[in-house]
């Protein structure tokens, strides 16, 4: 059973459109991370959010941590083909371990 549920599983949009990916749980996390992974490569950390209600912006990407620290969202404005990839959320479950969601595959068509 996965602690973190990501939705949607797949998302295909046209260049220039906006998209939102969700990461939900019934558990409270001390922090939550978002990673992006391209085929055949390791995940790359995008952001870490630690405070309930926190909003972080990274260029066209906006990350939000829920007030109760149980959920998070990733919003991409004016998506570009370079945003294509597998987006993974992960939450700390102990001092040493992360629990990962199953991921959302995003495809941005030129």
């Amino acid at each position: 059973t996965q602690l973190l549920e990501q939705s949607p599983q797949f998302l295909s949009i046209q260049e220039g459109e906006n998209l939102t990916v969700y990461c939900n749980s019934s558990s409270v996390f001390s922090s939550l991370q978002w990673y992006r992974q391209e085929p055949g490569e390791g995940p790359v950390l995008l952001v870490t959010v630690v405070t309930g209600g926190e909003v972080k912006k990274l260029k066209r990407l906006t990350f939000q941590f829920g007030d109760a620290r149980k959920d998070s969202s990733l919003h991409i404005t004016a998506a570009q083909p370079g945003d294509t990839g597998l987006y993974l959320c992960a939450g700390g479950v102990s001092d040493y371990k992360l629990s990962f969601g199953a991921g959302t595959t995003v495809t941005v068509r030129a």
Binding site: G42, V44, L45, V50, L88, A90, L98
Partner: protein, 111 residues
């Protein structure tokens, strides 16, 4: 910042053969290290983690084992590979605030 090296990048092995995947870390000392396996286009399954030399914790009973002979070296092994061992194996090193940094991965195909 940390750099994680993994090799080989790709490996094709017959069923029943042994396995050794290596991971080394630069830019940090005494890191927590992790081995994950990833099915195609899906999330990461934690296999092993280590908080220090010789200290290994197993998350999933399976055909694999891990060792940490040096502070920044983590090895994933098997004595006899199964078809179900095929997958994408990722090594990670812990950073601050629960973050982890990943290597480029090893694609293992067992035939």
């Amino acid at each position: 910042s940390q750099t994680i090296h993994q090799w080989p990048a790709t490996l094709v092995q017959p069923v029943g053969s042994p396995l050794s995947l290596e991971c080394t870390v630069e830019g940090t000392s005494n890191p927590n290290l992790y081995w994950y396996r990833q099915a195609a286009g899906r999330g990461l399954q934690l296999l092993f983690y280590s908080v220090g030399i010789g200290q290994i914790s197993s998350e999933v009973p399976q055909n694999l084992s891990a060792s940490r002979p040096q502070d920044r070296q983590f090895i994933l092994s098997s004595k006899k590979l199964l078809l179900s061992d095929s997958g994408f194996y990722l090594c990670a090193s812990a950073g601050g605030a629960d973050t982890q940094y990943f290597g480029p991965g090893t694609r293992l195909t067992v035939l």
